[in-house]
């Protein structure tokens, strides 16, 4: 006979403000096998936990039901408390009175109390048939894979490497550095982006604990937390990495000119190229889609091969697969910039002097196409009027509903740069909806921009026109003056926002990591677990989780590294026992569970039973996340989730219906 203790939490007024907690506790006392029932202001507080622990001893309780907030919030807290009192932690049942009762039923307290009673009744019924379970320990690889070599990936890799962990850093492009390498200055301090980034890039290359794979992608991920097996595909550079010295002789002779993506297609590069002036590793790469010899697959051109003194050019290079074993994975693939051609009314793509903020960044950069001088792309002249237009592609239900978090600050920085570089005779307008300067030192930066005689117009234009003489103009209605302002800018800079990386689709599938409705990767909890994905051992850093500026990205990257260190430092981890288990006698080997499992946690094995070979499902415990998909699909009920089998669920449903039936199904 079970002895159950029921505890009803007030959660301040979150629950008690709606539900009559005293009545619920009194009701619980009338339920079968309930030895004691109490209510308390904050069950999760230390005195609340003590209350349970003392009762376990004095009342000799062997099952605990806690009616409180969502189990996602405090199930772990109460399990720990129960374990400290000497009871198996899995004999605890959480009844959700906050998210399921008091919050959705604020306006109907009486009905809410009835519902709370019913849920407690169901919880008590279920608690009686819970089974004690034990956590298992598995050993882990003390190595980490970092996907993406932008500032997030660089920071996470360096932190991990400095803590003594072996790191594999995989970057898709031929050099690390990412988006930050393209920037001129950084807000709010106007540090030169390259000056603070390049030393870190060099540190990565020099660090003995970091193995760098550039021009590479991950192609498969198997295994589970602590023991991931990852395949990395190294695309051919057609240049021997060990021989190339980065002398650029090959680039000088290459006849094929293509748009330079690093310069936002404002300039041209050659088919053989070095990714950027500060590239790490600084070695050449040949683009197979442009190189005459590789594209035509004929014995033509070959000028680079002839020019290379180090004999590094190798047209026969093949893709190479590297297999590694790691304990944890940090995803740091970053974001992309909104494609402004989609907002057709602003004329990007049609009018040459309408550019994006990334293009402005390259124009303003000393290593960019104009050597840092601000010129119009159309005629190369210095602009006399520059207009910045905010929220392009962001805060817009047609494209992306979220705020891009960086657009306002980028524009403030760029207005300051423009004012500093071409001081006299230049008008600078910023057309904005709301100006958001929320970080440390950011509002001061906004003040600095205002002091530099920048005209802020509270309103955005509907469209940009081109006059017959090729000049631009637009009307914008200023909210504060009630005036329609006509602006004739020489240069329009669009404040394009950040959008999810297109690789996220592939990466989320490979890692089984889910994405939020905005397309970015989803964190395990928006407030309490922002650095982890819901998949154990997969961590998130930087703009792949949501648009972010550099300070936030670096902070998150260091945090993710610390999380990975925390997971792997002891060399072994405990895994939850709430997993699927197979009843071998019932399993018919139909393979439905294998096909349905989203985590590839089911292996089919042949066994000999009475001389006959039989196919049977087996659960890889460490991979299984306990989602229950297999259990509901199994035609013979052979596979079930611990604590959530048919027995427990049906008992709970019966208890839920019991009173309703007694009342005549009211």
């Amino acid at each position: 006979m079970a002895r159950i203790g029921v505890y009803v939490c007030h959660c301040g007024l979150n629950i008690a403000g709606v539900v009559d907690v005293e009545k619920v506790a009194e009701y619980a006392k009338t339920l079968p096998n309930v030895a004691t029932a109490k209510h308390y202001t904050y069950m999760c507080s230390e005195p609340g936990q003590k209350l349970v622990q003392n009762d376990i001893k004095t009342h000799k309780l062997d099952r605990i039901v806690i009616a409180t907030c969502s189990p996602r919030m405090h199930e772990e807290t109460f399990r720990k408390a129960v374990a400290e009192a000497g009871l198996n932690p899995y004999l605890t049942e959480i009844v959700n009175l906050r998210e399921h009762v008091s919050w959705p039923h604020t306006h109907e307290p009486e009905k809410a109390t009835e519902k709370a009673k019913a849920l407690v009744r169901m919880g008590v019924a279920r608690a009686q048939i819970l089974e004690p379970l034990e956590k298992h320990k598995v050993t882990v690889e003390k190595k980490v894979l970092v996907v993406g070599g932008g500032i997030a990936g660089i920071q996470a890799s360096l932190d991990l490497a400095n803590a003594g962990f072996k790191v594999y850093l995989v970057e898709k492009s031929p050099s690390i550095g990412g988006r930050m390498a393209q920037l001129d200055k950084t807000f709010p301090t106007l540090d030169c982006s390259a000056c603070i980034l390049t030393p870190k890039m060099v540190d990565v290359a020099k660090n003995e604990n970091i193995t760098l794979h550039t021009n590479a992608e991950i192609t498969s991920v198997n295994g589970f937390v602590g023991n991931y097996e990852v395949s990395i595909l190294k695309k051919p550079r057609y240049i021997d990495e060990k021989k190339c010295v980065g002398c650029e002789l090959c680039i000088k002779v290459c006849p094929v000119k293509v748009p330079d993506k690093f310069n936002e297609n404002l300039t041209e590069r050659r088919a053989v190229y070095i990714h950027s002036p500060h590239a790490v590793p600084k070695i050449a790469t040949i683009s197979p889609e442009y190189c005459l010899r590789l594209k035509l697959d004929k014995d033509v051109c070959g000028k680079c091969q002839a020019a290379c003194e180090a004999k590094a050019v190798d047209f026969k290079q093949k893709p190479e697969t590297v297999n590694i074993k790691v304990g944890g994975i940090i995803v740091a693939v970053g974001s992309e910039v909104f494609d402004a051609t989609r907002m057709a009314e602003l004329g990007y793509g049609r009018f040459k002097n309408v550019i994006t903020n990334m293009e402005f960044e390259r124009i303003s950069d000393a290593s960019g196409p104009t050597g840092g001088k601000i010129h119009n792309p159309k005629d190369g002249k210095t602009p006399k009027t520059i207009a910045f237009i905010q929220c392009v592609g962001s805060r817009d239900k047609r494209f992306h509903e979220y705020c891009c978090r960086v657009g306002c600050m980028i524009t403030l920085k760029q207005t300051i740069l423009a004012r500093e570089k071409i001081h006299e005779n230049i008008r600078i307008y910023v057309c904005y909806i709301d100006l958001r300067a929320f970080g440390k030192g950011y509002d001061e930066f906004y003040t600095r921009a205002r002091e530099m005689d920048i005209d802020f117009i509270a309103g955005v234009p509907s469209e940009i026109h081109e006059k017959p003489d090729g000049s631009l103009y637009f009307d914008v209605y200023d909210k504060s003056t009630n005036k329609l302002v006509q602006i004739n800018p020489d240069l329009v800079v669009l404040g394009t926002g950040l959008v999810p990386n297109r690789d996220l689709e592939k990466i989320s599938t490979l890692l089984h990591a889910s994405r939020s409705s905005d397309g970015f990767l989803l964190e395990a909890h928006p407030k309490l677990r922002p650095l982890e994905s819901a998949v154990a051992g997969v961590f998130l850093a930087g703009a792949c989780q949501g648009p972010k500026d550099i300070p936030d990205t670096v902070a998150q990257a260091s945090g993710a590294a610390a999380k990975a260190i925390g997971l792997l430092s002891t060399g072994e981890i405990e895994i939850e026992p709430l997993k699927a288990v197979v009843d071998k006698d019932l399993c018919s080997g139909c393979r439905i569970c294998e096909s349905i499992c989203p985590f590839v946690a089911i292996e089919m094995k042949t066994e000999k039973v009475k001389g006959e070979e039989k196919l049977r499902a087996e659960v890889i415990e460490a991979v299984c996340q306990g989602c229950g998909a297999c259990s509901s699909a199994c035609p013979t009920s052979a596979i079930k989730i611990q604590q959530y089998g048919n027995k427990q669920i049906l008992t709970q449903v019966d208890a839920g219906l019991a009173e309703a039936c007694a009342e005549g199904g009211k």
């Binding site: 009314e345 929220c391 805060r395 817009d396 239900k397 047609r398 909806i433 709301d434 509270a458 309103g459 955005v460 234009p461 509907s462 469209e463 637009f474 009307d475 914008v476 209605y477 200023d478 909210k479 009630n482 329609l484």
Partner: protein, 169 residues
């Protein structure tokens, strides 16, 4: 008299606001964050001083009483630019149409042109009758000489059916 003058005297009428909201079922009036995009590009702004953003905010705050009697709601030329480009899909156009309907319900003064269009539709079933036009080369042309198909007029029973449909609504 501009709307601003009219408004400075009034108090919000939350009942009337509710009425408009009911007419705007599914239109996201409350989402307007006053980005000015509609007014910046409004075809009727430069000549007729229509400020769609102001209309949205007035309705949102409940200053609805004077709007149906005001000339301003009839200045919208229904170019639908604001519908196309509103980043919040708050669409001032739909609000202006709701106000026009309210004006007719209240039997407020409706500009002559609109009344003419209505009687035209009732009589012929067309908002505009087929007309001859003069080209840049000063030639007068009609549909026939441009080899365009003849416009079919609705049957006689159309008028009764239209009246019935309007009454039912």
């Amino acid at each position: 008299m501009s709307i601003v003058d009219l408004m400075s005297m009034t108090k919000p009428n939350l009942e009337a606001r509710k009425k408009i909201l009911a007419k705007l079922k599914g239109k996201e009036l409350a989402n307007c964050f006053q980005c000015m995009k509609c007014t910046s590009g409004c075809t009727a702004l430069k000549l007729l001083e229509l400020k769609p953003n102001e209309i949205v905010k007035l309705v949102n705050l409940g200053f609805v009483d004077e709007l149906p009697n005001s000339d301003i709601i009839w200045t919208c030329v229904t170019c639908l630019k604001c519908v196309e480009r509103c980043p919040q899909k708050a669409s001032p156009y739909h609000i202006i149409m709701a106000l026009r309907n309210l004006a007719v319900e209240k039997e407020a003064k409706v500009p002559e042109g609109f009344l003419k269009a209505v009687s035209q539709i009732l009589e012929t079933g067309l908002a505009e009758p087929p007309q001859k036009i003069v080209t840049r080369k000063m030639e007068t042309v009609d549909r026939e000489c441009l080899n365009l198909p003849k416009i079919r007029f609705p049957k006689e029973s159309f008028q009764a059916a239209l009246m019935k449909a309007m009454e039912e609504k």
